[in-house]
Symmetry: C2
Subunit: 274 residues, 2 copies
């Protein structure tokens, strides 16, 4: 990654590098956002900034001013009209004595620009992961920097033909995919697990819950998902991704899912034809 | 922190800074060790290196050669005869696609030297924390970089008169302190919680279990700890720390605990008189 693709700040001061003793590295003491960039602008910007600020507040980290942040993001993306991915990492910065947070910390912000991942060749092929998500209400829903569960779950398979893994929580309920939320079509409704014990409150998930009248949160058992009429994963980079196969279970394209994808494409052109 | 106090490596190559996209910062994808330095040498070196290597293996991260690592540590400490703290951070390095680990990664190592924290003025004053440790067998025992639970627990109090906080796990059992393991004197034995569902397999804890005949792992309820004949915390930087008060419960000095401290001081002079 060239330095032109990264911008690092302590407060509003530009730095050449992240301090080696930053609490983001030491403890995962921070939050992040991963945004789709389309036509030179970040998609769902307000929602991402709101989640970043909410997560920072939950951890007691001072969040940057939204207007300042947008200016810096625009500067990093200047001249890049094509699609891409923007990542924001916000940490508590340096200092403190061990786990104890410093009395006054200047948070660290890292902005980085990345290429768009290659599109899925068609409906996703998904597996169940062995690892179960621990239940931690104090951190549930947040897109924090403690992501070893996702790293270990994603390391369970190397077969390129498998695109994602679904995770259960410690109580055996369906939780999420390693890098996406999951919705299942059951009795004519789109149902997705709650994120109050584990998992991330995804931005695409929030869009579906807010914009699709028959979408709702629910407790889902593995058999509910395997027996669903349709299944999709979603995240803020790739939008809505139909699942074609989960283990031995296969799904044909479902008209309600195709309509949902069209609805998202009309609302957010970045996801047209996704 | 001056640059003289930090050494950063990609594999064995010295770097000026940690890459801003390092997986240690992005996901907490790594492990660390915090060592006591005494008379110019790290205390319990072999045990720390063994735990670092064990943790790296559990996460699938290539660990550095122990002899090379010791040479680099000695170089960083050269000319520093006084007591201090040495921290080693090992991450998976950069690369990979999202959570997916890179096929071949050069791990990042950060060595840093810190002053010894001030000694406790006497027996510790300890409180119960509200946060409960999540149960995650896949990560339990490891000193990994996902430490938001400890950060949040330590942020529960700011009263300087309270030195540490004890944590329960999600099942209500006693787990650990925010930065130490805990032992309770019950029926003439020193009992400490298992670390197979949460918590860190501490180096000082391992020393006690290996060297004190009446020390053992056990399931401890809060009432067991509050009703114990004596209580201590321990970690690799500060050794054995008697607890004088936990909420409304107070303990006078216990002869078995004084003897245990003398035994540790004879084995490891760094902890004499601690």
């Amino acid at each position: 990654m060239s330095t032109a693709d990264v911008a690092i700040y302590r407060g509003r001061e530009r730095l050449a590098a992240v301090d080696a003793t930053d609490r983001g590295l030491a403890y995962g003491d921070g939050v992040f956002e991963t945004l789709r960039v389309h036509a030179g602008a970040p998609v769902w910007w307000d929602a991402h900034v709101a989640r970043l600020r909410h997560g920072a507040a939950r951890l007691g980290i001072a969040a940057p001013d939204a207007a300042w942040l947008r200016n810096e993001v625009d500067a990093l993306m200047a001249g890049q009209g094509g699609p891409g991915v923007l990542k924001l990492v916000l940490t508590r910065g340096t200092g403190g004595r061990g786990y104890r947070v410093p009395d006054e910390a200047a948070p660290t912000m890292v902005l980085s620009r990345h290429p768009l991942p290659p599109p899925a060749p068609g409906p996703l092929v998904v597996r169940w992961c062995q690892l179960r998500m621990a239940l931690q209400p104090a951190l549930a829903g947040l897109k924090h920097l403690n992501r070893l569960e996702q790293v270990l779950a994603r390391a369970e398979w190397r077969d390129e033909a498998i695109h994602e893994g679904l995770l259960l929580d410690a109580a055996g309920r369906v939780a999420c995919a390693t890098a996406a939320n999951v919705f299942a079509r059951i009795d004519g409704r789109w149902l997705t697990p709650r994120v109050d014990a584990c998992g991330v409150a995804g931005i695409a998930r929030a869009w579906v819950l807010a914009n699709v009248p028959d979408a709702a949160e629910a407790t889902l058992q593995p058999a509910d998902v395997e027996g669903a009429d349709a299944l999709f994963l979603c995240n803020a980079v790739r939008g809505i991704l139909p699942v074609g196969r989960l283990g031995d279970h296969a799904w044909a394209p479902h008209p309600a899912l195709a309509e949902l994808q069209r609805q998202l494409g009309r609302a957010e052109p970045a996801f047209e034809g996704s």
